[in-house]
């Protein structure tokens, strides 16, 4: 009987084949979209930005003198600097001979460290809350509205409170970050830990399994997909959270100081602020991808999902 049914299995295993053969690598798709955005950006400037005047355009020796047919203020060189001006800002050197890119990456790594710590605290606290709430129904009604309220308070308002109240250093920043991270983990955890088949619960009950066994053998494994979705939201948010946390604490080594400085000199060198934004978002994308990578490891062997649901 077993051998007769065996050929069915490789067919089931091959269900992922069709999707991988023809589809573009996700990174290629992402770069394509970035390229399209850059083209749109410059097209807007070509149509309605400030005049283009180049004796030698990007070192090619081609002279350009273009007057856009329309004028739309948001497209001028201060609001939307040319992409190459942003790139040039990245590679411009400061008084110490460091390029802005090097400075921003250094600052980004500093911020990343606080963000990672905050994310870890937030994920643990969030999961802990979810576990408690799942087991005590009364708490769900009492606690969840409170948690929702906590997220309606602008983080920028409570950041000084936490950072200065606690200590104006990495710990304060990490706590502000965790404030942004824990909420999605709690909400997804509550949902995920109840997303099992009720018969699975009956099955474990029939084995006289206790609450802790059910938590480890059923609730947590059943909620991994939910939790990783929340971890992705939380990890991306943790970079923003760490930057916001750095603002009132007067920390100078992080991205917050770089953004503040660039804001102050914005009208003189708008490319620098955009450069800082680009680097900050690259860090955000980086942590997102890192969580995705961990998820793939943890969920390997799990039932394949629809290709659209993977991210």
């Amino acid at each position: 009987m077993a051998t007769a049914a065996a050929p069915a299995v490789p067919a089931a295993l091959g269900s992922g084949r069709l999707t991988t053969r023809r589809r573009l690598h996700p990174a290629v798709g992402f770069l394509l979209i970035v390229a399209v955005l850059v083209v749109l950006w410059e097209a807007a400037k070509w149509l309605a930005g400030d005049p283009w005047r180049y004796d030698s355009f990007l070192g090619t020796g081609i002279a350009i003198d273009h007057r856009p047919p329309f004028r739309i203020v948001p497209f001028n060189d201060i609001n939307l600097p040319h992409v190459w001006d942003i790139v040039a800002a990245l590679f411009g050197t400061d008084a110490r001979g460091q390029t802005l890119l090097q400075v921003l990456i250094g600052a980004g790594l500093f911020t990343l460290r606080n963000a990672a710590l905050g994310f870890a605290i937030g994920a643990l606290v969030g999961l802990g809350l979810a576990i408690v709430i799942v087991h005590i129904r009364l708490l769900e009604r009492a606690l969840v509205p409170l948690l929702v309220v906590s997220q309606t308070i602008p983080i920028i308002a409570i950041a000084p409170l936490i950072v200065i109240g606690l200590r104006a250093d990495w710990l304060g920043v990490a706590v502000v970050t965790s404030y942004l991270t824990f909420f999605p983990v709690t909400i997804a955890g509550i949902r995920g830990m109840r997303a099992y088949d009720p018969r699975a619960y009956e099955l474990l009950t029939s084995y006289a399994a206790g609450r802790r066994t059910i938590l480890w053998k059923l609730r947590l494994p059943a909620s991994t997909a939910y939790l990783f979705t929340a971890f992705k939201v939380g990890a991306t948010g943790s970079i923003v959270g760490a930057i916001v946390g750095e603002l009132p604490s007067g920390i100078t080594q992080g991205l917050a100081r770089q953004i503040l400085t660039a804001m102050q000199y914005y009208t003189l060198a708008p490319g620098k602020l955009w450069a800082a934004v680009v680097v900050a978002s690259i860090f955000g994308i980086g942590v997102f991808l890192l969580v995705t990578l961990v998820e793939r490891q943890v969920l390997r062997g799990a039932r394949p999902v629809e290709s659209g649901a993977e991210a």
Binding site: T3, A8, V9, A200, E202, A209, G301
Partner: protein, 277 residues
């Protein structure tokens, strides 16, 4: 049947809901099941046969009456891990391999790793799925998944196997094959089986006794002793006695339904559900 009963139900009833919208799911159930018996519970949807199974397994408490299992309360029997459960769907854990799924109950009782690996392997051999130990459940066909669920249910050598329409979701061909498979396993393990089903031929083919139930309130209307030879195979389904028993169970079911055209729209709906299930 002459041996001391493994399961003894006396005056069991179950009422769901509060005083206003209360529903009598079961009423006055008396049943004794001997060691090594194979008892099927059959009846229309809503007759409480799944509820009865869960009361025996201490997953639901009865409103009144007593349940004795191996001379103990049902709760004690559950704590002693006397039960093996199989549901209509396999309820296998996607995040575990087939082998690890069968090991699950052994992990819960704290069996050391090498022992439980050996035990799970022998259970998989029993259901002839040794070659698939390293596969994930979703890579297996529905019938194979259900055999894994049976292997898992048998892993603790339960005194009683509780099966809630285990083959209801399978196609007819697979279902007949699974019936033979289950009989072979039952022969080999000697375990007592309580088997909920919608299918009259399945109930007659598998059982030593068929318990016929009717709905509102759920109660036992007939008990049909299946006096077919214990050794059953594909030829059993062509025996004259088999057809007589199928007819007997069908008539018992019809008698339990009451007058056919009673003008109650709800009863028609329930019957339609029974057919689709």
């Amino acid at each position: 049947m002459t041996a001391a009963p493994v399961v003894e139900l006396a005056g069991v009833s179950k009422r769901f809901g509060g005083s206003a919208g209360a529903v009598d799911a079961l009423s006055g159930i008396d049943l004794r099941i001997g060691r090594g018996e194979f008892v099927s519970l059959i009846g229309p949807s809503g007759c409480g046969k799944s509820t009865l199974l869960r009361i025996v397994g201490d997953l639901i408490a009865p409103t009144s009456g007593s349940v004795t299992v191996n001379g103990k309360t049902a709760a004690q029997a559950r704590l002693d891990r006397d039960y093996g459960m199989v549901f209509q769907v396999p309820v296998l854990f996607d995040w575990r391999t087939v082998q690890k799924n069968v090991e699950l109950p052994l992990e819960i009782i704290g069996m050391p790793k090498p022992e439980r690996a050996a035990k799970a392997s022998s259970m998989l051999a029993l259901v002839e799925l040794s070659a698939f130990a390293g596969h994930r459940p979703w890579q297996l066909s529905g019938g194979m998944q259900q055999r894994v669920a049976i292997a898992r249910a048998l892993a603790l050598d339960p005194a009683i196997l509780l099966m809630d329409e285990p083959f209801g979701a399978l196609d007819e061909m697979t279902r007949e094959r699974m019936n033979l498979e289950l009989l072979r396993i039952w022969e080999r393990t000697g375990t007592t089986v309580i088997f909920v089903t919608h299918s009259i031929p399945e109930a007659v083919f598998l059982s030593t006794r068929v318990v016929v139930m009717s709905a509102r309130p759920g109660r036992i209307t007939h008990v049909v002793d299946v006096d077919l030879p214990r050794e059953r195979n594909v030829d059993t389904r062509e025996m004259e006695r088999y057809f007589e028993l199928v007819t007997e169970v069908r008539e018992a079911l019809r008698a339990g339904e009451g007058p056919p055209a009673d003008g109650d729209p709800a009863s028609g709906r329930v019957r339609a559900e029974g057919l689709s299930g």
